[in-house]
Point group: D2
Chain length 307, copies 4
């Protein structure tokens, strides 16, 4: 079988970099539209099932979103002794929410997404992602810019999860990756709190944003830990970073992780366990060295921008 | 603007030949499905508007289908003195039908299309193509294989129009481009009748099927005339061929064409007139020579097959 | 066979418009480099043989360049009674030169190309195009901007052929498609002289530059004739325009063309004859109407720009 | 910058699966040809520098080949107490050889590659990969099928490295991934010996060959360890597997690895150290589970085949 197969005449072109384009064959385009903030597509691909695509970039795919969402949520949630109040910025698919709600200690989740249409469309077309999490009574859902929301709302949180779109030039998320924003996040974390952030590609040939976000967080938080996992639909290793005053997920032993998973989660994760945790926080030498060499700090004046 | 524009991340790949692929940016995929006979898509492209796509090949586009359908229909219809009974084989979009019905002399159109789903989907999604022609009382619509239909139905016709999909290997239309089938068509033409056939790409680098169809028709009919016009959405010159016992469209003068258009059609064509007729039947030397060199005849035993 | 065939893993992407991209499979990249003026590639394609590519656009392909060059040269050369002095602006491949030199009346050809590297590379890698025409003693070759050359050089010519690259924004040829430049060309034509110009795509979906060039020439010359032919490697009908004080190629009868070809050319063209001439100058109604509606004139202040 | 940039009109299409195609923009095609065994290209890409491409698949890229070759070589070499005799099957670029020769204990390297042309072309065009390793007096180079060579040559080895092309249907390497071949490899390993094999993509969506190779090796060797690392130019996690009678690389502690690297290698690796080793041998849960579920064994009768 090949591209000239009649089933393979529609393709999604994902421009990973100016010099690398990944083509996904399309089974069906389920939805296409524009909100006031971005273009929104639900594309059913032959490789990864239904995908949420915002402004031409895959945000989540049915087949491998669990790897991403478990990686974003569980390391910080299990590093905290008993997270009750959780903030999610972004995460319109509802899958970050789904993973947070699996933690028994959670009493309230405040979710702030800019774009009501993304949430509406995901609720309608991607039920396997949210799994009805939007109906959970612990959820308080706001449609607002996360930065404005955190400035107005003085509430404190145990865990803050930044599940935001790429900081593209001209995009709405660009000022949500700066030192000034991270300072605001730190103010809203309770003393024993911890945050994590999706932190862009973390591959050897494409890790400048990942390194810059880590560096920026280090200018705000005492304990910062970068980790990575492979997300096939992004065709890349993907970066995540935790930041806190004193909690260190990298110091947790695999056995302790397995124990916490078994006792504190209402269901078993598909990807995350003690060994997976170890794999994610183990960064190969060539990546460590290149990250250590980065001096870039993202600021409101001079924010990073993804391709 | 460029391919990395967020509006240009969905593309239709049209494999023209194994070595040439034309990519159309997609505005929206309106419909995707499979009938028992073929895959069917309605794709709204940025260049050519809504397109009917069968088995991955564009059949008609909103923006330029008039060029194709007027070319297929009017030269033979106006060569005949007063066509009353017309048969259309294929033509599920209803646009060939639309052009036939514009001829005031027509009393009955028998249309035979294999695939009811194609007709249903075109009626629903491509109103600008059929323009409600399916509601005309002169139409008698059959869903059947055209060859079987003509074998069973002994009726005679003034004009027969073969508006069939490509003769691809394994496809349902392959035995509708053979000498045996053309003999059957000749039997169903009344003595003064004439047929025309859509006859595949007719470009310098890709005209073997066109030449073979002309040659095959010459083995059955005394008067055979090949002509071409440029269809932008096919990225090619497109071939058509007339065949009859004695009617010769190429012998009609532009003025005579213009007179017949003015008196016999209920509305003015967008593309077709005397000068367009002259342009279509004027074949450049290098094309004439290559066609004249062809000895291929398509038979049931050894039918041609398009890519 | 298909794109995943190991022989089809290198592709040339020709961006015809922002919404249409034609992919040519590459057999071999023979040369890649940059001159002071543009990027230059010689790409051997599976469909069209060796192609000259400037700034990412195919200029000529081995398999079908004869269609283009014969169309540019012979209609004006044969309209003139006995052209002796010919100017070629552009035409670095040497194929326009080759066709001009086939006219027995020619005594001197002045060729002005901006880019010495293009000529050197074509001489080396595309011998079938120039066929050693650069060695003809009738040739006088200058490397200069055609406009500056014509301003300085007050010589008169019987025929002027403008075989220039696309008027892309920022490109060196942009001011060679304006009213001011055409006035200069007219000053350099002897009283009975005639010019022709390659005039960009001339297809239904893409003919605004063609129409504007015709309109611009009409603001300078009394007799202007647009014509077209299909160039497969450009995936389009291609436009050409003649302009003169009184010579009208469209008025020549096919028989007269055939007579002049037989008596005035030293060898038979591959594509051009009386019937081909008729085909080229016959413009279908929908194209005529759209061209007639154009009011755009290209000027130094507001030049046209191709994609 | 975008695909329509004139510098980005040549693209290498890497068909990762039937539904995923990765496009690399090409700076230059340095070499294209065919040996008796395969098509060979040296393509200079904008993302990864010069790449060796066999039968349309990237084998090694200048920018990230060190990740692959260090991963293939060092874990097994450092698991052995003092490897003196090493066999490399495949590895025509000379980079596996380069890494082997960095081990001070090595006295003799026997390298068996099928295709003399691949070696010649890599020596000429990819000096940064082999770094003149082919001139090392410890090398004994044979051009032969590895299986036939091992059948004829009864010599024993401390380490055997299988750096072979994909087991594609009809390709020359297909029978070098079977149980029968691995039995032969085991016979040629000295009692304390160990082998490693490049083992195809090891990503969540594409790991069936990786799992099958691991399973096949388990049917022959007592100790089998699968590991992975991310190779950006392959757009995938890449699998490797060690197999031996008793040596277990996964049991080595990071500190012990760092000690052996420091004392036994003549230069520091760019990617490999104790922590990288840990990262490579840590397999996330969802991958472990899918691999454990595999029952496929590759045999001469029924060998696996890669896309």
């Amino acid at each position: 079988m090949s591209e000239d197969d009649p089933h393979r005449h529609k393709w999604f072109h994902d421009h990973l970099t100016p010099d690398l384009v990944l083509l996904h064959s399309i089974r069906e385009v389920t939805y296409s539209g524009r909100s006031p903030f971005q273009s929104i597509d639900i594309i059913d691909t032959n490789s990864f099932g239904a995908c949420l695509v915002l402004d031409g970039k895959i945000q989540s795919s049915e087949h491998d979103e669990f790897i991403y969402h478990e990686a974003l949520v569980h390391p910080v949630m299990l590093s905290h002794s008993a997270p009750e109040k959780v903030l999610i910025a972004g995460g319109g698919e509802g899958a970050t929410l789904r993973e947070v709600l699996a933690h028994r200690s959670v009493k309230k989740v405040t979710m702030v997404d800019l774009d009501r249409e993304v949430v509406d469309i995901c609720r309608r077309f991607l039920p396997s992602l949210h799994q009805n999490s939007f109906d959970d009574p612990r959820l308080e859902l706001h449609f607002a810019d996360a930065r404005g929301f955190l400035e107005r709302n003085k509430e404190g949180f145990d865990v803050i999860l930044l599940d935001l779109p790429d900081p593209i030039a001209g995009g709405p998320a660009r000022l949500l990756y700066t030192r000034e924003f991270y300072r605001l996040v730190r103010q809203r974390l309770d003393p024993g709190g911890i945050m994590s952030v999706q932190a862009e590609p973390a591959s050897w040939h494409d890790l400048q944003e990942f390194a810059a976000i880590a560096n920026t967080l280090r200018s705000v938080f005492p304990v910062v830990r970068a980790y990575r996992t492979h997300i096939p639909s992004f065709a890349s290793m993907w970066g995540f970073i935790t930041a806190s005053a004193r909690l260190d997920p990298a110091a947790l032993a695999p056995d302790e992780i397995d124990h916490r998973v078994a006792t504190r989660l209402s269901r078993e994760p598909r990807s995350y366990d003690g060994h997976t945790h170890l794999a994610m926080f183990s960064i190969p030498k060539h990546i460590r060295q290149r990250m250590a060499a980065t001096e870039r700090v993202s600021t409101d004046q001079d924010p990073i921008s993804a391709y």
